[in-house]
């Protein structure tokens, strides 16, 4: 199997509370401003490390589930995966990522609710990111099969 390397870079200017940075994707797919207020308060229009992780987890999980449904003999029509990552202050440990919650709606043929439930579990086990983050935070998946 090939080793794939993906790179992103950040240029940060100034202090943590008043400074700001820009995160650029190596592939050129995005270039995003980041700063502290966007991370700890709700500030529309600016992303944060946790939002990028939520996008990574939703992306990782959806590819994993597409593979598992096909392996179970089903045909994926559409998957909607939403992910919520929570950063919280934990006692004297400071800020930690405490949970990542996945909410899945699947439209697929050739698989029933029980089969989907098994695919959902297998996809969670197979998703690299679920396994990594589970070492220090809780990961939950809620899935629902949409009828055609």
């Amino acid at each position: 199997m090939p080793r794939i390397q993906r790179e992103a870079s950040v240029a940060w200017e100034g202090s943590l509370s008043r400074g700001a940075g820009v995160a650029k994707a190596g592939t050129g797919a995005f270039e995003l401003p980041i700063d502290l207020p966007s991370r700890i308060a709700d500030k529309p229009g600016r992303t944060s490390p946790e939002e990028l992780l939520a996008a990574a987890h939703a992306g990782c999980y959806s590819t994993s589930l597409a593979g598992e449904i096909a392996r179970a003999g089903g045909t994926v029509e559409r998957l909607n995966v939403a992910c919520t990552v929570t950063l919280d202050e934990v006692g004297d440990k400071g800020h930690l990522i405490v949970s990542s919650e996945l909410d899945v709606r699947a439209r697929a043929e050739g698989i029933d609710a029980a089969g989907l439930e098994r695919a959902v579990q297998a996809a969670d086990e197979g998703c690299t990111f679920s396994a990594l983050i589970r070492a220090s935070a809780s990961v939950s998946v809620r899935a629902e099969l949409e009828s055609n």
Binding site: V10, I34, I40, P49, E51, T75, N80, I97, T128
Partner: protein
Amino acid sequence: MAAERRASVTWNGDLMSGSGTIDEVGSGAFGQLDVSWPARSEEASGGKTSPEELIAAAHASCFSMALSGGLAKAGNPPEQLRTSAAVTFVPGTGITKIALTVRGRVPGLDAGGFREAAEAAKKGCPVSQALAGVPEITLDADLDA
């Protein structure tokens, strides 16, 4: 106070020939980013992002913020930090390595002090802690020449 961050993806079709889109994120900062298995698992991504690239961006930005905060707390606020994170992904195995590289312009601080602060940021930033299961996380830190 807990901060929740949300993103959603729509996937169409199977794994190998289907593709997905990161439709939207809670902040509205980006959306409609295409993702696919070939973009993820092949050398050339064709300009598409991948979970690993998003993790690289999350780690580089978390580390930069932690380092900026740590330097300022010790009385040496940085003028500029340039960080890159390279995530190595082996399909079937997972993420095997993250290499962080940082160059900084920090008035009044020597290279040893900068490296120490960078090590502390690598250890303490929330994304590093969440990714503690990655087998190898390296750091190359230096001041601008």
